[in-house]
């Protein structure tokens, strides 16, 4: 049996050598070229996976408030800063421009397609963009579509998308609530929230004219109705008021924007595909500005 296998292998090699002059190296296994990448802009993730691979689909899935949008905004910011033309197919029209501007996404290089909640339109729009070519990053946002609907998306769509961007410099990033692209995705990242980062609070008594500020760690508990809220990175004397009620002069010097209320989210990212022996998740924290 062994001899028979060896004979067939030798015969195959002889045939390949005989035909090599006419057909070149068509019988040899092609070495897979290292994929070009689009950096995510998050150092902790780029240190592990370098970025999103070009010419293939990347899926980012997770529950609400898990940090999917933060990761996408970061990738869009890096891509637009590198003069890439990007497109965002926004299925449920939830793209927030102020947070995108804070993440330094260049709006002039971003084509925003608002699909008004129609998944079918979103897929058709994505298909048109991928067929058009020339985009560095195309993002399909299905994050607000219910998981039961994303699971029903027929696989042929994903195969079609994968085929469209194969051997092109385009990367397709899909945000989903649950993993649904399966084998068509070259990279699948699961994003989980490890909890929000609330600001430290300072108790304050309005009736006491000689009010004194004292800091308290109240991350886990609801903040009091009247509270002076300070960022932990600032000393207590720069505390500012998170209340619509008036404060004694000199007690607060900084203006507060609504975004100061929540400081950020701690995020953990697991690489689900391609399967790796090293399964250390990447951890990072989002910030306000």
């Amino acid at each position: 049996m062994l001899n028979a296998n060896m004979k067939s292998a030798v015969a195959k090699k002889e045939i390949e050598l005989a035909l090599a002059d006419r057909f070149g190296a068509v019988f040899q296994r092609r070495q897979k070229q290292p994929a070009e990448i689009v950096p995510t802009g998050v150092g902790e993730i780029d240190a592990r996976i370098d970025g999103f691979p070009r010419g293939s689909i990347t899926e980012i899935h997770g529950t609400a408030s898990s940090g999917r949008t933060s990761l996408l905004l970061s990738a869009l910011a890096v891509a637009t800063m590198q003069e890439e033309t990007c497109a965002l197919v926004d299925t449920s029209d939830t793209f927030d421009l102020s947070s995108a501007a804070k993440a330094r996404v260049d709006g002039e290089r971003l084509l925003w397609v608002r699909c008004g909640g129609s998944v079918e339109r979103a897929f058709k729009a994505t298909d048109l963009l991928l067929q058009s070519g020339g985009f560095g990053l195309v993002a399909l946002n299905l994050a607000d579509v219910a998981a039961k609907y994303t699971r029903r998306i027929i696989t042929s769509w994903w195969f079609r998308f994968r085929r469209s961007i194969e051997n092109t410099p385009t990367t397709l990033v899909v945000l989903t609530p649950v993993a649904c692209i399966r084998s068509c995705a070259a990279l699948v990242l699961e994003v989980k929230s490890e909890g929000p980062v609330w600001p430290n609070t300072v108790s304050f008594d309005l009736e006491n004219s000689d009010a004194k500020l004292t800091m308290k760690e109240t991350r886990e508990r609801p903040t009091p109705h009247l509270s002076l809220v300070t960022d932990s990175t600032f000393p207590p004397e720069t505390a500012y008021l998170a209340s619509p009620y008036p404060l004694k002069a000199g007690a607060a010097s900084r203006l507060l924007t609504h975004s100061n209320l929540l400081q950020g989210i701690r995020i953990r990212v697991n690489q689900e595909r391609p399967v790796s022996w090293i399964t250390n998740p990447a951890r990072f924290k989002t910030r306000l500005h």
Binding site: L73, R121, G134
Partner: protein, 470 residues
């Protein structure tokens, strides 16, 4: 072989073209190569035109035998006849060079044909006062001096001047004198300054039967656009604006204008854009005539670089944008632009184009170690919420978007706020609201908290979910 037409009677019209407009039009009916020499004179290259207008038996290339002379005389007679039909009287002369033809047309009435080599003989008796100094490219200041010199020399006719020795003329009058003497001899190697016909990129078609469907209309549009683009291409031009004018069966008109961000000359791309435009806003009745006008501009010249990131091809991008507009609507596709106001979620959509990107090219290095900015997902419109409060602080919330079946429901485990914002108090749509950032415990076990931004509209006392942090 050149023909010169001299108008004996020049009508005075109010139009800027004046009296010479008809002369140029007349010349263009015989040849596309026309020079507008003076108000009353035009020259046209009629080489080979005798095959069309002259006697069919003669096809000589030059005026050098009797048969050819007969043929070109027939051509000149045809020019005179057509001018007469327009009630104008003209002199026509045909010679081997344009300058000899001009002098002959001005001097001799009717039709004159000067055979090759006989220019000096034919023009010899003409007075030197009829010599056109402008043809020798002599400045007006020198003309009076040269005329006086020639008169002092006792020269009266072309032949007198032509017979002078060349070296003597050059010594006394310089190069201008040499050029003038060549004119007097009936010799010239001057190139004609051709009249460029006005560029008009317009194609029209009257239909025999009204067309009510898009598919047959697309074939007609394709034909017109092919001709239009071929015309543009032949002039090395492109278009950045296409105007479609349709006359309809109900005697109304339908006009559409497509403004292109970059100049194009590809008929297929233009056809698709036109069809998308007609599909988006179809005419009210069947079409009986079509006119397409293209605005001519210089074509786009782009130099690509090895290190410049790939961008979508402008023609393909325009088609893709048109298809996206057809799919989701015109106001749903474009580049976002934040408005200069404090009103929440105030933005507008701009037209997406590559050309604007190139202007603001400031490539920045990839910053891999930047800290990630917290993302936010805004609900448009905000979800109306039922909120239970304790001492003004939210404790439970329930909100749902019917379309997407998404739900924000549960106990508020952490809340930060309120923060009051307001604006536009001078307008009827003034807004005042107290914002809270809340963490809602998900009813599903093992799920993380949902972080939302909610607000209470101070005027209506209603609660809304503005969006979620993500």
């Amino acid at each position: 072989m050149f023909a010169s037409i001299y108008g004996q009677t020049i009508p005075k019209f109010d139009s800027p073209a004046g009296g010479q407009g008809w002369l140029i039009d007349l010349a263009f009916t015989f040849s596309p190569l026309v020079e507008h020499t003076a108000d009353d004179t035009v020259v046209l290259n009629v080489s080979g035109q005798n095959l069309l207008f002259g006697s069919p038996a003669n096809s000589g290339p030059a005026v050098d035998d009797n048969a050819t002379i007969h043929s070109v005389r027939a051509l000149a007679s045809e020019i005179v006849r057509r001018a007469a039909q327009l009630n104008f009287k003209v002199n026509v002369s045909i010679a081997a060079n344009p300058d000899a033809a001009i002098h002959a047309a001005r001097a001799f009435k009717g039709v004159t044909v000067i055979p090759i080599g006989e220019e000096s003989l034919q023009l010899g008796n003409l007075s030197l006062k009829t010599l056109d100094y402008s043809l020798a490219d002599i400045e007006q200041e020198r003309v009076a001096g040269i005329e006086e010199t020639l008169e002092l020399w006792g020269l009266r006719t072309f032949s007198d001047f032509a017979g002078l020795p060349l070296a003597g003329v050059a010594q006394r009058l310089g190069q201008a004198g040499v050029r003038l003497q060549k004119l007097a001899q009936g010799k010239s190697d001057r190139q004609m300054v051709l009249v460029q016909p006005p560029l008009g990129f317009e194609q029209s078609l009257e239909l025999e039967h009204p067309v009510a469907e898009l598919e047959p209309l697309s074939f007609i549009l394709s034909r017109l656009l092919n001709q239009l683009c071929a015309n543009l291409h032949s002039h090395a031009l492109a278009t950045n604006e296409l105007r479609l004018h349709l006359n309809l069966e109900d005697r109304s008109e339908h006009e559409r204008t497509i403004s292109l961000p970059i100049p194009m000359q590809n008929p297929k791309t233009l056809l698709r854009l036109l069809l998308f435009e007609i599909e988006a806003l179809p005419p009210r009745a069947a079409v009986i005539s079509i006119t397409i006008i293209a605005e001519p501009v210089k074509p786009r010249m782009a130099q690509t670089g090895l290190f410049i990131p790939l961008t979508p091809e402008p023609e393909k991008l325009e088609l893709t944008l048109a298809r996206l507009v057809k799919l989701v609507g015109a106001d749903k596709v474009g580049s976002p632009e934040i408005l200069d106001t404090h009103r929440p979620d105030a933005f507008r959509m701009k037209r997406f184009s590559i050309s604007t990107q190139n202007k603001s090219r400031n490539r920045q290095p990839a910053t891999g170690n930047r800290q990630c900015v917290m993302g936010f997902r805004v609900f448009r419109p905000p979800w109306r919420a039922e909120v239970q409060t304790l001492h003004g602080r939210p404790t439970r919330i329930r909100a749902q978007d019917v379309k997407l079946s998404c739900l924000v429901r549960g106990q508020v485990v952490c809340a930060s706020g309120p923060w009051r914002t307001s604006g536009d108090w001078w307008r009827p749509d003034v807004w005042v609201r107290d914002e809270w950032d809340i963490a809602v415990a998900d009813p599903i076990p093992k799920q993380s908290e949902m972080l939302c931004r909610i607000y209470r509209d101070v005027q209506s006392e209603e609660w809304f979910v503005e969006g979620i942090y993500d």
